[in-house]
C-alpha cells in the first residue's frame, strides 16, 4: 500500500522532481567518469614517467572526490528539503486521515529509495557511455596513441559511486525522518496561508551600503591585480572574506535600489507586466540574498578554476621550447666533505669519495658512454660559506620579509664562472656576457625572486669574495637560466670572473648535452637506454647523479597540465551544476507558490504571451544577476590567478576563457531552459 502511494506520488510530482532527478543523474555520471580514470588510462601506451604522473593524478582525483561528494551531499539534502516543503499539504492530509508519522517517514523512505536507485542506474549507464568519450580526451591530453578502441568499464568506480551516493541517500532519509517527526499538523495545514510581508528597505541606507560594497569590491579588485605581488596568504584570506561580505551587501542593497530606480522610470515600470515582474523579483531577492551570494561566489570559483586550469595546461607546454632547448642534463654534488656541518647530517665515506669523482667518469661508470651524446658541455657551481641571502639581500631585510615571510636567510648563493656560463649559454641559445676582472652579474628568471634581487641591485652593491671586491656590472638581474626545466625557476646565480673561484669551492658539476641522433625515434632510443641507470643510480649506492632530459620534462609538464585540467573540469562542473540546480529548484518552488498570482493575471484577461514573457524575464533575471556579478569578479579573479601562476606561464588565456564560456552556456543555460519550461508547465491552467 505504502509502496503504491510512493509510486503514485512520484508520478504525480514528476514535474517537480525533474530537475532534482536530472541533477542526481548528472552528479552520479560525473562522479563515475572521474573515478573510472584509472581504468581509462590503463590502456594508454605511455612512458613510465607519464605513468607515474597518471598515478598521482588518480590519487588526487580520488581525494577531490571526497570533497565533491561533500558538495553533492549538501546539494542533495538541500534540494530534498525544498521538495519536502512543497509537500506540506500532502502530509497534512495524510495526518488528518490518521496516518502515523512513522508511516509517512516510510513513504518518504520508499520514495528516496526509488529515486536513488533509478538515478544511480541511469547515471551509471550515462557515465559508462560518456567515459568512452572521456578516454579519447584522456589520450589526447596525455598525448598518447589511442589507435585501438577499447570499451572501458570500471567495477571499482561503479562500486565507489554506489557507496558514496548510497551514503548520501541514507543521510537524506535520516533528514526526512527528522523533519517529518518535527512537523505539527496545524503548521502543515496553514503552510500556504502564510502572509508575506513586503518590507521596502530604506533607499538612502541601501544606496550608502551599495557604495560601501562597491568601494570594498573595488579595493579587493585593486589589491588582487595591481598590488598582487605584495600579497601574502593572510592578505588573500582577508581579501576573500571582504569580497564575500561585500558581495552579500551588494545583493542586499541592490534588491532595495533596483526596484526604486525602476519605479522612478514610470514609463518603463507601467508597461505591460514589467511592474509585476519587478515586484516578483524584488520580493524574492529580499528573501534570497544569501543564496544569491553563495551561488554568485560558486560561479565565480567555477569560472576562475575552469579558465585557469585550462590555460595552465596550454601554457605548461608552451614554455618548453625556450626553457628546455637541449636533450639532457645531469648534475652531481661535489666536495661533500665541506657540506657536512652545514646541513647537519653525515655522509658516508663512500659518498664523500664518490663526490670527488668527476661527472664524466661517473657517467661512464653508470654505463652511459659518451657516444650517446653530442655538443656536450661541463659546467660548475661554486659557493662560499659567508655568501648567503643574509649577506646579499640583508640590506632590504625588512621590506623583503614583509612580502615573503618564509624566505630562508641562510640559503647559500650560487656562483658560476663567466666562461662556464658562456659555454653553456651558447648551447642553450642564450646571450653571452663579458666581465671585467672586478665585476659580477646576477642572472635569474623567476619573476618574484628577480623583483627582490632588483631591489638590492638597484644600489649596485659590492660583492666580497676571498677578500677581493667585485662591482655590479648592471643595476638589475639579467634574464637567463642554467638548468633545463618546464618553467622559469632560476632564483639567481652570480656570474663572476674565472679567477674568483677555486676548485675547493665547487659544490656541483653539470653535464649538458644533446643526444646523438636526428629523428625522434633515435632520441627516444637513447632516452630509454639512459633512463634505467640514471633513475636507480643513487639507490644502488653507486653514485649521486641526478639527471633530467627534455623528454621527461616534456612528459611531466604534459602530465601535470592534464592533471590540473582534469581536476579543474571536475570541480568546475560540480560547482556549476550545484549552483545551477539550487537556483533552478528555488525558482521552481517559487513558481508553484506563484501559481495563484498567474491565475489572477489570467482572470483579469492578460494575454498568454505576455504572461510567458513575464515568466521568462523573471527567471532570466534570477539566473543572470548572480552570473553577472560572478563574471565581474572573475575578470579580476582570473587576472590574479594569472599573476599567481605566472611561474608556469599563462599566456594563452583566450581559448580557455572561450572553453569556460561554452561550459557555462551549456550547463547553466541548460538549467535555465529546463527551469523555464518546467515553470511554464506549473503555472499553466489545469
Amino acid at each position: 500500500m505504502l509502496f503504491k502511494l510512493s509510486i503514485k506520488n512520484m508520478k504525480k510530482s514528476i514535474k517537480d522532481y525533474a530537475i532534482y532527478f536530472f541533477t542526481l543523474i548528472l552528479g552520479v555520471s560525473i562522479f563515475y567518469i572521474f573515478n573510472s580514470m584509472e581504468t581509462q588510462t590503463v590502456f594508454l601506451e605511455v612512458t613510465s614517467s607519464t605513468r607515474e604522473i597518471i598515478k598521482m593524478m588518480i590519487s588526487m582525483l580520488s581525494g577531490v572526490s571526497v570533497f565533491v561528494s561533500l558538495i553533492l551531499g549538501f546539494l542533495i539534502i538541500y534540494a530534498n528539503r525544498f521538495l519536502m516543503k512543497r509537500r506540506k499539504k500532502e502530509f497534512a492530509i495524510y495526518m488528518t486521515l490518521g496516518m502515523s508519522k512513522r508511516k509517512i517517514s516510510q513513504i518518504l523512505f520508499i520514495e528516496t529509495l526509488l529515486i536513488g536507485s533509478v538515478s544511480l542506474v541511469v547515471g551509471l549507464i550515462l557515465g559508462i557511455g560518456l567515459s568512452q568519450l572521456m578516454s579519447v580526451l584522456v589520450a589526447n591530453l596525455f598525448e598518447a596513441d589511442l589507435s585501438k578502441f577499447t570499451f572501458i568499464f570500471s567495477w571499482k568506480a561503479m562500486i565507489k559511486t554506489i557507496i558514496y551516493f548510497g551514503v548520501m541517500y541514507l543521510l537524506v532519509m535520516i533528514f526526512n525522518t527528522i523533519s517529518v517527526g518535527r512537523c505539527k499538523l496545524i503548521d502543515l495545514l496553514q503552510a500556504h496561508k502564510k502572509v508575506e510581508r513586503i518590507k521596502l528597505k530604506n533607499p538612502i541606507f541601501c544606496t550608502i551600503l551599495f557604495f560601501v560594497s562597491t568601494v570594498c569590491l573595488g579595493y579587493c579588485y585593486y589589491q588582487v591585480t595591481k598590488n598582487a605581488m605584495s600579497l601574502n596568504v593572510h592578505d588573500i584570506g582577508k581579501l576573500m572574506l571582504l569580497g564575500s561580505v561585500s558581495t552579500f551587501i551588494l545583493f542586499w542593497s541592490l534588491s532595495g535600489i533596483l526596484l526604486k530606480i525602476f519605479m522612478s522610470l514610470k514609463r518603463l515600470y507601467y508597461k505591460n507586466l514589467n511592474m509585476f515582474v519587478l515586484r516578483q523579483l524584488a520580493s524574492k531577492v529580499n528573501t534570497t540574498v544569501f543564496s544569491m551570494t553563495v551561488i554568485s561566489l560558486m560561479l565565480f570559483l567555477t569560472i576562475c578554476i575552469l579558465s585557469s586550469a585550462l590555460s595552465l595546461k596550454n601554457s605548461m607546454t608552451a614554455n618548453l621550447k625556450e626553457l628546455a632547448p637541449i636533450d639532457f642534463q645531469a648534475s652531481k654534488q661535489k666536495n661533500l666533505q665541506n657540506h657536512e656541518d652545514k646541513y647537519g647530517f653525515q655522509f658516508t665515506e663512500e659518498e664523500i669519495a664518490d663526490s670527488n669523482i668527476s661527472i664524466t667518469e661517473t657517467l661512464e661508470k653508470l654505463n652511459i658512454p659518451k657516444n650517446y651524446f653530442q655538443d656536450d658541455v661541463i659546467t660548475h657551481y661554486y659557493s662560499v660559506q659567508q655568501l648567503n641571502y643574509e649577506t646579499t639581500l640583508g640590506s632590504k631585510k625588512e621590506i623583503i620579509e614583509k612580502d615573503f615571510p618564509v624566505i630562508r636567510w641562510d640559503y647559500q648563493e650560487i656562483l658560476m664562472t663567466i666562461s662556464d656560463y658562456n659555454k653553456l649559454a651558447k648551447l642553450l641559445h642564450q646571450p653571452t656576457y663579458q666581465l671585467q676582472e672586478d665585476e659580477y652579474i646576477v642572472i635569474a628568471d623567476f619573476e618574484q625572486m628577480t623583483n627582490i634581487r632588483n631591489l638590492v641591485l638597484k644600489e649596485k652593491p659590492d660583492l666580497t669574495l676571498n677578500g677581493k671586491t667585485y662591482h655590479a656590472k648592471y643595476d638589475h638581474c639579467v634574464d637567463g637560466f642554467t638548468e633545463i626545466s618546464s618553467n622559469h625557476m632560476n632564483t639567481g646565480i652570480y656570474l663572476v670572473p674565472d679567477q674568483a673561484v677555486n676548485e675547493s669551492m665547487e659544490i656541483e658539476e653539470f653535464f649538458s648535452a644533446n643526444y646523438r641522433g636526428q629523428t625522434k625515434e633515435e632520441k627516444y632510443k637513447i632516452e630509454n637506454l639512459i633512463q634505467e641507470p640514471t633513475d636507480h643510480g643513487y639507490e644502488e649506492g653507486i653514485t649521486t647523479l641526478s639527471a633530467v632530459s627534455k623528454i621527461s620534462i616534456y612528459e611531466a609538464s604534459v602530465g601535470l597540465g592534464a592533471m590540473v585540467t582534469f581536476i579543474g573540469i571536475y570541480l568546475g562542473i560540480i560547482f556549476l551544476i550545484s549552483s545551477a540546480a539550487i537556483l533552478a529548484l528555488k525558482e521552481l518552488s517559487e513558481s508553484s507558490d506563484n501559481k495563484d498570482r498567474y491565475m489572477v493575471l489570467r482572470k483579469i484577461g492578460t494575454d498568454e504571451k505576455m504572461i510567458q514573457h513575464a515568466l521568462f524575464l523573471q527567471i532570466a533575471c534570477f539566473f543572470l544577476l548572480p552570473l553577472i556579478v560572478a563574471i565581474i569578479h572573475s575578470i579580476f579573479g582570473i587576472q590574479f590567478a594569472n599573476i599567481i601562476l605566472a611561474t608556469f606561464g599563462t599566456e594563452q588565456l583566450l581559448p580557455s576563457i572561450i572553453m569556460t564560456a561554452i561550459f557555462l552556456v551549456f550547463i547553466y543555460g541548460g538549467y535555465f531552459i529546463i527551469t523555464y519550461f518546467c515553470s511554464k508547465n506549473i503555472i499553466k491552467e489545469k
Partner: protein, 255 residues
C-alpha cells in the same frame, strides 16, 4: 433599454454518461444596460458555474451567451483574453489582489496589460480611487489593508477599464457586516452614478437587497425572479427573505 447580456438556453454538464451532473439546466435571461442584477441560490445551485460561463473562465456545454450581440461562447485564445480584459471587470470573494503590488499598482495592472500609456493610467487610477474613497490607501500593500479596503481596491481594478459588465462573485463573502455594507454602497454608487452594469452572485439576502433585480436559482434552473421596482431596500429585503424561505433550502428536504 439596451440589452447588454443575453443568455440563451445555456447548459453545463459535468461528469460522464454514467454519472451526469447538470450544474446549469437550461437557463435563459437578459441583463439590461445600467442594471444591477443579483443571482441568488444555495451553495451547489449552480450560480458560480453560471458566472464562470459568462466570464468565459468556463465553457458552456450548449446554448449561447451574447454580449452586446457577439456570441462569446465562440471566442478562443487571445480573443478570449482580450474580451476579458476589455469588456469585463471582475470582483472576487477572496479579492485576488496581487500581494506583491501596492493598491495603486494592483489597480494600474488592469490598464498596463491593455498597453495604456503611463500618464493615462495615473489619471484614471487617481480618478477611480477618489470615487471609491481609497486615495489614502493607494500606497499600501494588500496585507496592510482591511478586507473592506481590499475589496474596494478590487472594485476599482474592475471598474477602471470602463467594462461593459462587472461580474462579482460573492463580493461580501469574506467581509464583516460593516465592510460589506460599505462595499455595497459603493456598488450602488458605481451603478447609479457611473452607470456600471453589475452582475453579482451571492447567497446572502442582505447583499442581494442592494440589487435592482434578483434571480433565484435552484438545482441549475431559474426558480424565481424579483424586480425591486419602487420598493425601499427594507421592503425588497423582506420580499427576498420570503422567496428564500420558499426556496426553503434544507427545509424542503425535511418534509
Amino acid at each position: 433599454m439596451e440589452t447588454i447580456l443575453k443568455i440563451e438556453q445555456i447548459e453545463k454538464y459535468y461528469g460522464n454518461k454514467g454519472n451526469l451532473t447538470k450544474a446549469i439546466d437550461n437557463i435563459s435571461f437578459d441583463v439590461e444596460k445600467k442594471e444591477f442584477v443579483a443571482i441568488m441560490g444555495a451553495s451547489g445551485s449552480g450560480k458560480t458555474t453560471l458566472l464562470n460561463c459568462i466570464s468565459t473562465i468556463d465553457r458552456v456545454t450548449s446554448g449561447h451567451i451574447y454580449m452586446n450581440g457577439n456570441d462569446i461562447t465562440k471566442l478562443k485564445g487571445n480573443a478570449l483574453n482580450r474580451f476579458r480584459r476589455e469588456e469585463l471587470g471582475f470582483i472576487f470573494q477572496d479579492f485576488n489582489l496581487l500581494n506583491t503590488l501596492t493598491a495603486y499598482e494592483n489597480i494600474a495592472l488592469a490598464l498596463t496589460i491593455q498597453g495604456k500609456k503611463q500618464k493615462e493610467i495615473d489619471q484614471k487610477v487617481l480618478a477611480i480611487a477618489k470615487k471609491l474613497n481609497i486615495v489614502d490607501i493607494l500606497k499600501k500593500y494588500p496585507y496592510q489593508m482591511s478586507g473592506g479596503q481590499k475589496q474596494r481596491v478590487a472594485s476599482a481594478r474592475a471598474m477602471i477599464t470602463n467594462p461593459m459588465l462587472v461580474l462579482a462573485d460573492e463580493p461580501t463573502g469574506a467581509l464583516d457586516s460593516k465592510s460589506a455594507r460599505m462595499l455595497l454602497e459603493n456598488f450602488e454608487y458605481l451603478n447609479k452614478e457611473l452607470h456600471a452594469t453589475i452582475l453579482m452572485v451571492t447567497h446572502d439576502a442582505f447583499t442581494a437587497s442592494y440589487a435592482s433585480r434578483v434571480i433565484f436559482i435552484k438545482d441549475g434552473k431559474i426558480f424565481h425572479e424579483l424586480q425591486r421596482g419602487e420598493l425601499s431596500r427594507k421592503e425588497f429585503f423582506d420580499k427576498i427573505i420570503d422567496i428564500v424561505t420558499l426556496l426553503g433550502g434544507d427545509l424542503n428536504h425535511v418534509i
